[in-house]
Symmetry: C2
Subunit: 351 residues, 2 copies
Amino acid sequence: MKMDSVFDCAASAMVLPQPYLLFLGDTTERAFAKTAFGLRDWAADKCVGEFALKGASVTTGLQPLTPGEAAARGAQALVIGVANSGGVIPDHWRAALFEALEAGLDVVSGMHARLTDIPGLADRAQALGRQLIDVRSPPPNIPVGTGRKRTGQRLLTVGTDCALGKKYTAIAIARAFTELGVNADFRATGQTGIMIAGGGMPMDAIVSDFEAGAAELLSPDAAPDHWDVIEGQGSLFHPAYAAVSLGLLHGSQPDIVVVCHEPGRTDVLGAPGYTLPSIEETIEATLLLGRRTNPAIRCAGVSLNTSNLGEAEAAALIAGESARLGLPVADPVRGGEAFDRLVKNCLKAED
Amino acid sequence: MKMDSVFDCAASAMVLPQPYLLFLGDTTERAFAKTAFGLRDWAADKCVGEFALKGASVTTGLQPLTPGEAAARGAQALVIGVANSGGVIPDHWRAALFEALEAGLDVVSGMHARLTDIPGLADRAQALGRQLIDVRSPPPNIPVGTGRKRTGQRLLTVGTDCALGKKYTAIAIARAFTELGVNADFRATGQTGIMIAGGGMPMDAIVSDFEAGAAELLSPDAAPDHWDVIEGQGSLFHPAYAAVSLGLLHGSQPDIVVVCHEPGRTDVLGAPGYTLPSIEETIEATLLLGRRTNPAIRCAGVSLNTSNLGEAEAAALIAGESARLGLPVADPVRGGEAFDRLVKNCLKAED
């Protein structure tokens, strides 16, 4: 099975076939369908419907369609929108994947298990001229980074830790830019983000020597007024993942960073004994290291994930942090004037 | 061909079969035999002889032996000690590799081309129960880093840039430790270093998400008075390779760093427009980031590669830099009192 067909002929980021049919398997646990809900919430225009097996109780609320019906409505790919613990593809889901291929759909997966490991699936895809796309597999021919300054403007979300809102912050800022008439693209760097964007670069799956080069490829030269809004990964302070974060920072050469944080989180995810850095430390380290590939880098604000707080409490915290840090602070999911201020500060030409 | 046999059963660093027969092909350019000369100079006790094809004019000075003769003298592996431009294995070298397998030797390569891509070689190796080992291929089952503090002591060489003496500095310091009766191991992180050490971890070939985890695996828990002296890679300031350097720094959790520099080098290798950081900047950034996994990290001195200078000029520069920086400074290749002072400062318990 030739996987190169997912990618442009030269070295480039991943591009996925769209729109999608969301596959839910026979899932009964809402938490396992995170990818499907993420796609529904953030890429509704790219989803024609959902396809669940007998026994499933989870639904995205999108129209139930068979692969054949979805193909007739223009779907290009079936996306596995669920995970189970272990990230395996159960045997009783397999018939549905074959059905998708027969209906003329490609199959897209972000699970740990590889689609090509399902007996017969790759052969059938090849015979039908369809693609099996594992979103965790990086594209081929990624070059070593050059550090060459590219045209266009770039914003990168960075974090005090993993898994606290860097993806959603980048998507929300890219949308806000677009709504203001600014030419902007969301650039995805993780599995879910790549499915939402319909393309991107799985930064954590890149061989280290090519990490910055992969980030350079993800946000190529663009028009001077164009913005790439790039999804951050990991944290410079995470004892396991800082290599990913630094390669992404150097290769992205951002003009702007927005620091993401979850109030109340005190310890690094998955690293017992590691205290979270402060927002100020995160800004300082990011600017220090980021200056290497973009001397004009600046922090335009802070994104707080206040999903665990009530509205009044969140508003008070946002106002307090903004005063304390002397920077725009907002929760992009709550939006409002605070977020407008953050977005405006991102677009403000530097003094 | 099962490549797992090179590695211990659990996740671990790479271990190579030794001693070696050095293969020179039909090389006539001394510069292409860098690996063979490195092994002769730094791992003479691991080399039983050399094996060259008709037409070769380069020699290491070691005894010429056929694979059969080398096997009779205890050789365990034929090591490809040469590279040509492009890193390919020419067709007319292939018979020699088959001859090595037939003689009972494993074959070790650090070239870009894979041994398993040579038609029939993997099948023959399997039939004979021999191994084909590509030193650029990382071992399997590398875990995500944990940041857990390990027992034993660690020294990491870091650099103002790539390719200026981090490997030689680490080897020289490990030897000096051993000569002083200190229990120490050189831990290799690049292809040549791995061949010299007979094992290690090809840090630039590791998937980014596992970069720090690979470094943790390379220097496991050890006796409290044991030192791992770890070969640095790249530079935190290199726009292409900083991800490798930061993952290695975090995962190594060094107690001591020694900063390596080549006087006179002003620009970053392979990155036009990038000025080399100063030694002071390199120390500062390394300690700032290294503190994350080892708060007691300190810089014990500076290693200068003065191979382009005369003896008097080198001595004057070393003395001047030592006074300027307030740190021991030495060229490990020149050795002498300056290097003794540097080594002693590495072993000095912190005040």
